[in-house]
């Protein structure tokens, strides 16, 4: 799993592709934790090329969201989420914890 992060002035963009499941979600978790260690809590997760996320992957996103929002220091927002993934998040009511944007520019511009 390739996770590419780009640091901007006020936020960082994290991008990966393919599938996020019990096997590889620890790598994603690491990437998010790395940003937190750098004091970067305003995060854009670009899922444009992600075609599957299991609940293990959501767990990483939820925990990252908790970490980011603590002390009001930031937020994790999502971009390019596919209809299928959005649908499955809705099945368990998790979509409401994330702002979602259509483009990375819109997301970066929100910070």
């Amino acid at each position: 799993m390739d996770v590419v992060t780009t640091d901007y002035k006020r936020c960082s963009v994290i991008r990966t592709s393919g599938r996020i499941d019990s096997f590889n979600s620890p790598y994603l978790e690491q990437a998010f934790q790395q940003k937190a260690e750098e004091g970067r809590y305003r995060l854009v997760f670009d899922l444009s090329d992600v075609d599957f996320i299991s609940s293990r992957g959501w767990w990483v996103l939820i925990e990252t969201q908790k970490l980011c929002k603590r002390y009001n220091r930031g937020e994790l927002v999502l971009v390019g989420i596919s209809d299928e993934i959005r649908d499955s998040l809705r099945l368990v009511g998790l979509q409401k914890y994330f702002k979602m944007y259509d483009s990375v520019t819109d997301a970066v511009g929100s910070f």
Binding site: R19, D21, S22, F52, W59, S88, V92, G93, L94
Partner: protein, 132 residues
């Protein structure tokens, strides 16, 4: 298909089931849901039936029937009582929420039938997705 109970085999299992769900004629959105349910079930067996990776095998079979698609997962791990598993609470605040404990809930939300059978030969999970 028999797979060692390891996370690395999840993508193969999903692909296998997706292929059959496609053959059965389900649309993409439903196929996605079905492989999500299978992924959760396979992960649960590794985590809870075997209590870790590499401690056994998981057999996956698919059957296209007149009714729909039947997916079966068999393992030799621990049994459990599915009726004792509480539904995840849809809590209000982010701080309280955890996607832990949603696996079984998702399987039941997605599939039309989710049943466990525990015998001397092992445990068998049967999930059915019906044609609408």
């Amino acid at each position: 298909m028999i797979y060692p109970a390891r996370y690395e085999n999840l993508s193969q299992v999903r692909d296998f089931v997706a292929e059959l769900a496609k053959q059965a004629g389900f649309v993409d959105k439903v196929i996605y849901r079905v492989i999500l349910a299978v992924d959760e079930a396979f992960t649960n067996i590794i985590d809870h039936a075997y209590g870790g990776e590499g401690l056994g095998d998981i057999e996956c079979t698919c059957q296209i029937t007149e009714e729909g698609l039947t997916v079966r997962l068999r393992d030799q791990g621990n049994r459990f009582d599915p009726t004792l598993v509480p539904e995840p609470e849809i809590k209000k605040s982010l701080h309280e929420v955890s996607p832990r404990g949603v696996g079984l809930f998702l399987m039941r939300q997605i599939m039309d039938e989710v049943s466990y059978e525990f015998t001397d030969k092992g445990n068998e999970l049967t999930m059915v997705k019906r044609f609408d």
